[in-house]
């Protein structure tokens, strides 16, 4: 089943307390050498049938109205993820996106 994936991140100028907590926990585990860790959100939309321009427009609208708050967050990408052709939905792996992802934000 094809999916659309939306990534939302805290704006660069906003301090990310969750990322800071994760960074501190990593250091305690001895996983070191990172300047900063920031935590974002990933949303997956499973689609009935084909991913059309209309469907994408709806997801972009959702990303900008409900999924993110422009005061503190950026929608960094809206991507289509193909099923890889092995889920039985009839979709072949996308030829132009060998990694299974196409950036559809632009």
């Amino acid at each position: 089943m094809p999916k659309i994936i939306v990534d939302v991140m805290p704006k660069p100028e906003i301090l990310d307390p969750q990322g800071k907590a994760i960074g501190a926990a990593l250091a305690r585990l001895g996983i070191e050498g990172f300047r900063e860790v920031r935590q974002g959100k990933r949303f997956e939309f499973k689609v009935h049938g084909e991913i059309t321009d209309e469907v994408l427009a709806k997801v972009r609208h959702a990303a900008e109205t409900l999924l993110s708050n422009p005061v503190i967050e950026d929608v960094v990408s809206v991507k289509q993820k193909e099923c890889g052709g092995n889920c039985g939905c009839g979709h072949a792996k996308s030829a132009e996106a060998p990694n299974g992802q196409k950036d559809l934000l632009a």
């Binding site: 100028e13 990310d16 307390p17 409900l66 708050n69 005061v71």
Partner: protein, 234 residues
């Protein structure tokens, strides 16, 4: 005439009962409103209470902002009706763009619960007219996502227009920009703040005062301010 002040219950609201009680103790008629309602009945003012509406999923206030009742509240607020957002209610007011900025997790990453001193920076709003300009009050504060943020331009504008309604005194409990605890819209009818005035309205159940324990009632004037304004207009 008795002023009628509505308090909205969302799924996950915690302080709606306390807010209704504060309205009653202040001398108005409390009216329960429900998130799924589409009109405000005949209320004269609205309080959005504290809590964790819709579990605070996604972002605090982000889902409540689209509750059916919110369209009526936005219309009423734009028409001049007094609207107070407390804690989660403040977060809802920012998400629905009645107030600028937003709240993120506390800088120190802990949930905090304490009696907090605030300075009233604007005693001319619908919810602060019974305070003196610069008066210091003590009300409870309890939150995890209480750090007020906005861009520098917005902060400068808020300061310049006298729209910072309350500032933390003594200690900034969450890293809020410029110690801001609460703000108002340009008209002064919409006010939002993170601390909880509705928990400081009855002797014996409020913050500790100098005289004796739990006697603080500094939050009551939020509600008497609104009532006085409504009765003056009637």
């Amino acid at each position: 005439m008795t002023a009628r002040i509505g308090v909205v219950t969302f799924p996950g609201s915690l302080d709606d009962r306390d807010a209704l009680r504060a309205v009653r103790l202040a001398g108005a008629e409390p009216v329960s409103l429900f998130h799924a309602d589409t009109d405000l009945g005949d209320v004269d003012a609205v309080v959005l209470p504290g809590g964790f509406s819709y579990g605070d999923y996604l972002r605090a206030g982000a889902i409540a902002r689209f509750a059916p009742i919110m369209d009526s509240i936005v219309d009423a607020a734009n028409g001049g009706m007094p609207v107070l957002g407390i804690c989660n209610g403040f977060q809802v007011l920012t998400e629905v763009h009645l107030l600028p900025g937003s709240m993120i997790k506390n800088e120190h990453r802990h949930f905090i619960c304490r009696d907090q001193t605030l300075r009233v920076e604007n005693a001319q709003t619908a919810w602060t007219s019974e305070y003196r300009q610069g008066e210091e009050i003590v009300v409870p504060l309890k939150n995890q996502d209480g750090q007020y943020v906005a861009d520098e331009h917005t902060l400068d504008e808020l300061e310049g227009d006298g729209r910072v309604a309350f500032r933390y005194v003594g200690w900034n409990p969450n890293g809020s920009r410029r110690d801001i605890a609460g703000i108002t819209n340009a008209r002064g009818n919409v006010v939002g703040l993170m601390p909880h005035p509705e928990h400081a309205v009855e002797p014996g159940f409020g913050p500790d005062s100098v005289e004796s324990g739990r006697m603080g009632t500094d939050g009551l004037a939020f509600f008497t301010s609104a009532i006085k304004g409504l009765l003056a207009k009637a």
